[in-house]
Amino acid sequence: MISAFLARGLQAVLVALIVSVFSFIMMKALPGDAAYRIAAGRYGYDMMDAASAEVVRKELGLDQPLLLQLADWISALAKFDLGKSLVYGTPVMDEIAVQLGYSLLLAAGAVLASLLIALPVGIAAGLRPGGLVDKASFSLSVFLRAIPFFALGILLILVFAIQLDLLPVAGFHSLEHLVLPSLTLGLGLATVSNRVVRDAVADAMTAEWRLFSRTKGLSARLTMLRHVLRNAALPVVAYVGVQLAYLIEGVVIVEAVFAWPGIGHALVHAIFSRDIPMVQGTALTLGLLYVVLNLCIDLACRGIDPRTRLSAREKQGT
């Protein structure tokens, strides 16, 4: 239990360091004098001069040695000070607090959509391996897997919003707006996870322990409830963990496609407009979100699989 938290905690620190160092390099790699540019960002090109640039330079410590600046940069992050947006002038934290909610809503919608698709299809295919549903879902999965998230988003926009005129295309005003982006992400995730469900179900149904449970006298229903479900759930939940990387990547891309007001969209926008505190803040939030979701999956796997719990207990005993 503690080891799981420790490992993910270490990952979180690593994420913070990587993001922070990258943003620092990004800052340094900007063409021209950073102080001038920041001053221009603050006061506008007309209002700024060498003196205001000098003020900025002093304020941000841009005249110090490079390593010292990096240390300052990281220690600011360690104090949870993400700075102000160069574009909006508002604290990055405030921006992220608003955007995070939208991104979580989209991620939840996507996971829900992928489960709603993958579970029924995968179970139906796994119960009759080699049957019609199995073959059809396999072919469809191969085709859909080859369409990247943003291309899938474009196709769905073309079909649903334009040709059929059913659903709103972009932005977020009502829950209806959630349908297309979550469907895009969910469909993308389900292309592989439905096969994982199928394999898990097919394996569980042909396992020797299932047949033994039946021949010792348990009914098909009891066998399903007491043995098959838990055993089949384990690889599926573990695979959701693998998919988290795709989910985070997908959130970034799909938000951009649908102009969804979340963190991914903000990150892309910040990179485009060279708003480095925002880049750092959003990338960090997405990275930490990835770590937290991974931790949840770790804990879920431990909840399902008593083997990990027992072996941990034995280790503590010796």
């Binding site: 021949t215 348990l218 399902i304 008593p306």
Partner: protein, 486 residues
């Protein structure tokens, strides 16, 4: 002798087809209350299909014909879902390798308890009490909360037995109950199974092991290539076999082999002086000494997990002993010690043709292909087999090919690690005889490691017994193993 009870299970003219091929049958047998039937046959003889046909769990592509009557009711005429209703209540099964038949994610106590609860329809409390009693009487105390993955093979067997019989079925079908267990555990399994006829039930056991059949008694049915060739009381059939096959089978038991004479010792080729072997902080072998002479056959026997394989690897120079010294005779080169493996397919590169593997070895040692071909024909291997991959030939053939491969480098010492434990009795006898002949013809020393004490005694010039790891831990580690000659 008790009065014969009524017939509880009867099979008549049972045939199993796969398309046009007949895989099994026709077979016929009856088992009475308190009776035992042992079905003996080699791997691939279709033995397991008989159990599946009686249960009604045959694969959909197979077709069963004939009459199966359980407790006076024709089961073969019933719908599959109706037949499932008899499972646990009238028919119980002990599957092959029970540790794979237990749910890996559920504690053993719950897996037994659920049968009491839902099949015998006890209350939760009564089910727990019944399970506790079963665990107590089977010597499973302390294993209640264990998951199947942490149980030993013998314990998993007993848990599966408790779970299978908890529904109160009077008939038990056991498929290869000793597969994967040490010979030492066989007696435990036999006494476990004997509880069924002793308490008035009927027992049907499928096995390839004649000694298990002898200890179970009752009746025996002998299968060859899916055909029933002999049937009758076990001791009568095995002691006075009518067919050559049964005769062969009975004589293939190590106990019937011609015992080996002590070897006229030549020069020693390998010497170990009071070595100690540790693995993972545990002392596996201590104070072990050995002198292996040219052309000598030595067997080291002991239960699994006792460090036999580690000892062999140490003698082969693959591992270093923690203490003591191992010496090879001075004229031995690095390839003069060769190993034979327990699982022949694992000893060959899996994705390469056998001929290619043999050619590689021959080329390095400058042996021409005619010599290799000569060796192969002497070992009775059809050269057409060499175009296949290791997993496409039978275990017996592959073990002979691996012997041929080892002989290609003209070794002075062969270390054989359970080389026949996955082979049928007749194949085992032939392979071991081949090894013995090679030892004397080529003057090669062979060190055999086996869990089968009977085979060790029958085959070797000298035996060394390693003590069991289940014995109480003496000071200084697992046992004091001496070079002890019988």
């Amino acid at each position: 002798m008790k009065a014969p009870g009524r017939v509880v299970i009867s099979v008549q003219a049972l045939c199993i087809h796969a398309g046009k091929d007949i895989l099994l049958g026709p077979i016929e047998f009856h088992v009475r209350e308190g009776g035992t039937l042992v079905i003996i046959g080699e791997t691939g003889a279709g033995k397991s299909l008989a159990v599946q046909a009686i249960l009604g769990t045959l694969h959909g592509s197979l077709l069963a014909e004939g009459q199966i009557t359980v407790n006076g009711q024709r089961h073969d005429l019933l719908a599959p879902s109706t037949r499932a209703n008899f499972w646990g209540k009238e028919l119980a099964t002990l599957p092959q390798e029970p540790w794979r038949a237990l749910d890996p994610l559920m504690q053993s106590h719950r897996q037994v308890c659920e049968t009491h609860r839902f099949v015998s329809c006890h209350s939760q409390h009564a089910a727990v009490v019944a399970t506790n009693n079963a665990f107590g009487s089977l010597g499973l105390n302390g294993a209640e909360q264990h998951l199947p993955g942490t149980l030993s093979g013998g314990m998993a067997q007993r848990v599966a037995f408790a779970a299978a019989t908890a529904g109160g079925a009077p008939i038990l079908l056991a498929d290869e109950p000793t597969k994967g267990l040490d010979t030492k555990r066989h007696a435990t399994v036999v006494s476990l199974l004997s509880q069924v006829p002793d308490s008035g039930g009927a027992l049907v056991v499928i096995t390839h092991d004649i000694s298990v059949a002898r200890s179970l008694g009752g009746d025996v049915l002998i299968l060859k290539d899916g055909c029933m060739i002999e049937q009758g009381p076990t001791h009568a059939v095995l002691d006075y076999p009518k067919t050559t096959y049964t005769k062969d089978l009975a004589n293939a038991q190590p106990a019937c082999w011609k015992p080996a004479k002590p070897c006229q010792s030549g020069d020693w080729v390998l010497k170990a002086d009071s070595i100690r072997i540790k693995r993972g902080g545990r002392v596996l072998v201590d104070n072990f000494s050995l002198r292996l002479h040219a052309g000598e056959r030595i067997a080291i026997s002991g239960p699994s997990g006792g460090g036999k394989t580690t000892l062999l690897d140490t003698l082969a120079g693959l591992l270093r002993p923690a203490n003591g010294e191992i010496q090879r005779a001075e004229h031995l080169s690095s390839t003069d010690i060769q190993k034979l493996y327990q699982d022949p397919p694992a000893a060959f590169p899996a994705r390469v043709n056998l001929s290619c593997s043999l050619r590689d070895v021959a080329r390095i040692h400058g042996v021409d292909s005619a010599q290799v071909a000569c060796l192969l024909s002497r070992l009775g291997i059809n050269s057409a087999l060499l175009d296949r991959r290791p997993d496409e030939v039978s275990g017996g053939e592959l073990q002979r090919i691996s012997i041929a491969r080892a002989l290609t480098v003209r070794p002075r010492i062969l270390l054989a690690d359970e080389p026949t434990s996955r082979l049928d009795p007749i194949t085992q006898r032939d392979t071991m005889k081949l090894l013995a002949d090679i030892a004397s013809d080529e003057n090669i020393a062979i060190l055999l490691v086996t869990h089968d004490i009977a085979m060790a005694k029958a085959w070797a010039n000298r035996c060394i017994a390693l003590s069991s790891p289940e014995e109480p831990l003496p000071p200084g580690g697992w046992g004091n193993r001496l070079d002890k000659a019988y």
